[in-house]
Chain length 233, copies 2
């Protein structure tokens, strides 16, 4: 039976940009599991009500509705133990900090891309998005991204632990990508899919890793509509 | 044959405060390996010359001189495979990012404790320490730590990934500590041993984890002279 996943979409159904959904999408590919992704908008709370909460990703695996990207990853590892491991032989614990750092990376990328998201959203999501984000952040979307060029050097300098790791190994998981990579890649893919702003310098080793990530699974992430691709919705 | 480790010391030989040496010290304890620690000062470059570089920790294992805390950890795992694993079943790769984040944590704690180190150093190290650090940072030790009370809230907020991880599990390694814990604990132990400044709020879950770390191996880290203990050198 094919798994189903509710996946945040923009105005065009195929523009999938959630950093959390991308983790799950790549984790499913790592496990070699086929998935039917269902485009979902912020206001479609009813569609995912069986998950008892209001955010995506939501994975439907048989009669189980599972929310939260980390919970989904742990579920996939437990439910499909014969498939390639997402966490390596040591279990999920060591990947938990990488997942938390990836959440933090979403926060750190927000001041560069937040306003651009609005232009890519479905009409019905725009008021919700602006109101919910401005309330959460205590600032207008426009103020959040003000002076982003000036803020970029500090953001890039803050990626020192990424560069140090990637100096020793091609992926955070080692010679091959693991869940740590999918988690940490999510925020970069988010930015790529909804903003023209280049958060990484072209010669940054982190950009080279992002490129390797875009190539995985037959170019799964690369084939996703990025900001520059023409809208086709 | 007992291992030997060159371990940064202050004016009192038993004041051991290097964040990098603490990683190694705890990694050795995790492996159940006895070690003779040799107090070392910044200017004692000759003593560790066989390691072909000028920093500690340096581990002497038989006729091998090994520098760099990460390299030492990988060596211990390879040389003593029958002892408890530092990295879990998946090998060292997933711990590499934690080690890099720990290096970054030293940078982030520096603005709170750097000047205090000077007062705890051996007389012969003080000029070297001031000159080398002021050159590296482009500021006086005093300027580096200016307004540290005002900077503390932002530092503490930046520990969000630590708190998120520790909400799910008692250690970064999971139910039990692993090398990721020793790496990330090092900077906090550094601060504890050389500065009266309290970088963590008492009710922070990160402080509770630090407490658990201080208890490990019969209180190995807790027994180290902290800032408040009377000097006995």
């Amino acid at each position: 039976m094919t798994l189903k996943m509710y996946d945040l979409a923009g105005a065009e159904p195929q523009r999938r940009f959630s950093p959390y959904c991308w983790r799950t999408r790549l984790a499913l590919a790592h496990k070699g599991l086929a998935v039917e992704t269902i485009p979902w908008r912020f206001v479609d709370k009813a569609a995912i009500a069986p998950s008892s909460q209001g955010r995506v990703p939501v994975l439907v695996d048989g009669d189980r509705w599972i929310a939260d990207s980390w919970t989904i990853a742990v579920h996939l590892e437990e439910a499909y133990p014969d498939r390639p491991s997402l966490f390596g032989g040591g279990g999920p614990a060591l990947s938990r900090f990488c997942s938390a750092c990836a959440d933090d990376l979403v926060v750190r990328i927000t001041p560069f891309v937040l306003r651009d998201i609005l232009d890519r959203l479905d009409e019905g999501d725009r008021d919700y998005f602006r109101a919910s984000r401005e309330k959460r952040l205590g600032a207008t979307l426009e103020d959040v991204v003000a002076d982003r060029e000036a803020k970029a050097p500090a953001f890039r300098a803050g990626l020192a632990p990424f560069r140090a790791t990637l100096r020793d190994q091609p992926f955070f998981g080692g010679e091959r990508p693991m869940y740590a990579d999918y988690a940490l890649f999510g925020p970069f893919q988010w930015a790529r899919c909804i903003s023209p702003f280049q958060i990484l310098a072209a010669d940054d080793p982190v950009a080279a890793w992002r490129d390797r990530m875009l190539d995985l699974f037959g170019g799964l992430a690369r084939s996703a509509p990025g900001y520059d691709l023409p809208a086709a919705g």
